[in-house]
Subunit: 268 residues, 4 copies
């Protein structure tokens, strides 16, 4: 089998049936891996079905290792990574290739010299395999695109939120520290209250008790929630924009005369 | 009376006064049924007025059964279900026909052979009769239309929310499990905290207590609420779009040939 | 002084300086009345300054009564209420005239035959005088306009919220009633939890404790918050629309050639 | 060195490399100052590293004092503040100059005659130095621009929120005061509950317990959250508008004469 074909197979080239089957198989395996980590965390389940979970893990690591090796071998068929040595090294440092490596490396290393205490952390770290979905998931790619597109607005609003967070925490610390020295023990500790309030989560595990603190808290809540709702609005707007661009990649045609419709005239 | 007339009567054809009266009567009866279930759940009310509630239930089931039989009998007047046997069978499997059947079947079955323990569940299940409003409610139909129109965006954002939920729960489980083995007993259990935080409901029955857990929780809250606000934004945008299309009195014209443009073709 | 002049004075006709002064005076008096009610509610303050509060109340009622009588006397200068008897009666039943009457009637009635127990409620009811601001407040009028404009969408979304609320409460009642018979004692009682969850307020005084209840609660939270955010989105959209219409009542002109600019071309 | 050069150096004129370095140095120093205040608030850290913190404070005050003096000396190179005496006085009362003064004055005054009790407050007040970022931060300037642009809408919605807050607090006070005389001790005290509910923070430290109070609370939550979400929507919309105007590379042209349209004239 040629390199080009392996490359197409692994990247879900929808023109080939086998390629789609490989994608579906790998997506299913990733999903089952994530489910396995979640289910294993429930008390008693892992010890009851240990052989099954371990066999599944060996099988998964084998498949993912093979996938990684094949991707590294076939990447030279891509124009950008043509060189057999430097091309492969550069490919190995692309985000998705690193994800693929990190998805198998901890398990392989542990099997080399099993340290029982690290085992639990390694098993939980397998949840990171969900990032492998980045190969296939249009949703994750869309979100990455939205964040890139709106990085300027997001940076600005994150800075404003940070300033607001610091001011809110400092003021509330000054007001409440004496009356609740435990909950408002320091400015960093007060940030826990500030985040819960500004995001409107409002756990209620820490609340101001003095009159001044309540007036201040009310003002911070009223002023601040608008600021902390900014990223949500920006992401939502970017999401809609990117999606519209996507679906209007080919222009609209008049169904009667077949001419191209000028978008700006139709949707004013 | 002809089949066409029964069909018109039951579907609230606004051109006939009797048809409107039938609609109002059935909507009122559905509403009273829902209210009855709600009121009955209050301690003591059902036992105090048992004969009245039971008589109302018998009357309702009789009316709804008659309605179901008439709909099934008259559906052959619709072009899509013309065949007296196969047409009726296909009609019986439409969502609204199934809702109509499920609205009476449990009560009818219980009366056949009363099992006192199942009775309570059957009485509560009558709340599902609210779905019968789908025959008349423009609001429910509009919402169904919005969800159909935005199913692509909603699917994508639900997937992203799911990935976020899994990552947030796994990380928080790793951090807090040792310090709060009850509240954060497993990843699925930690999801209860994650949902409360990411939706900003924030009950406060479960909160991180370690410093690392609080930093992680704050980051999850700040990053995640934007993601979980996406469906709300998408539904709101779809709601406005659908409503505008509905009320836009003059259609769009092609600037080249001047013919009316079919909305559905233009916005794919 | 003529009726037309009194009419202009009381309605804040901005062409006359005296009229503006009357408006400012009445707005100030209404604000002070509201503040008085708020301050009086604080333990000890009313009894400490009783004579001052009572004198201010007598003064306020006198002014507001005079205002009401003058409005009723002068309304015949308006074309719509020209008839001295039927015009005045119709005017007396306009919303703002009823507000003006209700702002003084309880106090006047109490002074007729003071019933000490009703007194407290009457004093608190003075907070309704805030509605008198409707004569002057552009903000309240704008909000009324937004609600009128979007009444169709708001009605639809309120219906959907109501259906969601009933379904969420019924389901959660079935699941949690047995385990928490106090907090989830009936479907109406469960609605308190449902409203707190669906609005994302999340007090946390009532939360599901069973695994099924938590899964159900999580699903309700994720699905429902989009629905309950609809009115906020609709009001915000209407608010922006009304405000834009307001400020674009006169068309834009090109500063160079002075011709009217076609809005649709400029903002694509 | 000439005044013009000092002026350019301090205002981050990006054409000169030294000027950019000065900006980066001052931004870094401000950030470190804010971090120092936050870290110092943690129990034990200040006493453990007192000499380092104090040295850093002396250094910072020296730099910021020098910056202030230089700005005051060089401001006469700006056309608006050309006069050596009155120009400098007017410059000293600009918001950013006052911020610069307030950033050093308390520390300088304390060193003059150290009062140990005031010292802690003075140290905390240094957090206000974050406002010095206003010289450099595009984010803070953008937010100021958004608030100026939308001040009309923001004022209206703040008024509506205030009316809603007063009505919600008064009604809930009437209903709950007798049953929870501590939590709902007065209308101002009830406002703490009202703000937590209307912003959807929902700490849960104060909640209605009577049936009437819960029905009222539910209605307030459903109606009120739309109102309290208005500023967030307005700020988000303004944020997007300002940013778009900023990045809109080609200006609008009048369709009649073809000249460039001044944005500020078109959208009043």
């Amino acid at each position: 089998m040629k390199r080009e074909q392996v490359q197409q197979l692994l990247n879900g080239d929808t023109a080939y049936k086998t390629s789609r089957l490989v994608s579906v198989f790998l997506i299913g395996l990733i999903t089952l891996n994530v489910l396995a980590v979640i289910v294993e965390s429930v008390e008693g389940i892992y010890s009851a079905y240990k052989p099954w979970f371990d066999a599944f893990e060996v099988f998964s690591v084998a498949v993912f290792s093979l996938e990684y090796v094949l991707r590294l071998w076939a990447c030279t068929s891509l124009p950008a990574y043509r060189h057999p040595v430097t091309g492969r090294i550069r490919f190995a440092f692309t985000p998705l290739a690193l994800v693929d490596l990190f998805a198998v490396l901890p398990s392989l290393l542990t099997w080399g010299g099993v340290d029982l205490r690290a085992l639990r952390v390694v098993r939980l770290a397998r949840i990171a395999r969900i990032a492998k979905l980045g190969h296939y998931s249009k949703a994750l790619q869309l979100m990455a695109q939205v964040i890139r597109r709106k990085r300027h607005e997001l940076t600005i609003s994150l800075m404003l939120m940070f300033v607001m967070l610091i001011l809110a925490s400092s003021l509330m610390y000054v007001v409440e520290h004496e009356h609740q020295p435990e909950a408002f023990s320091s400015i960093p500790a007060t940030m826990w209250w500030a985040v819960a309030t500004l995001t409107t989560v409002g756990y209620g595990d820490v609340t101001p008790v003095t009159a001044v603190g309540k007036v201040l808290g009310a003002l911070i809540a009223i002023i601040g929630i608008g600021l902390f709702a900014l990223p949500a609005g920006i992401v939502a707007a970017g999401f809609v924009e990117v999606n519209e661009n996507d679906s209007s990649s080919h222009p609209s045609y008049c169904p009667h005369c077949g001419k191209v419709l000028d978008e700006d005239r139709i949707h004013p």
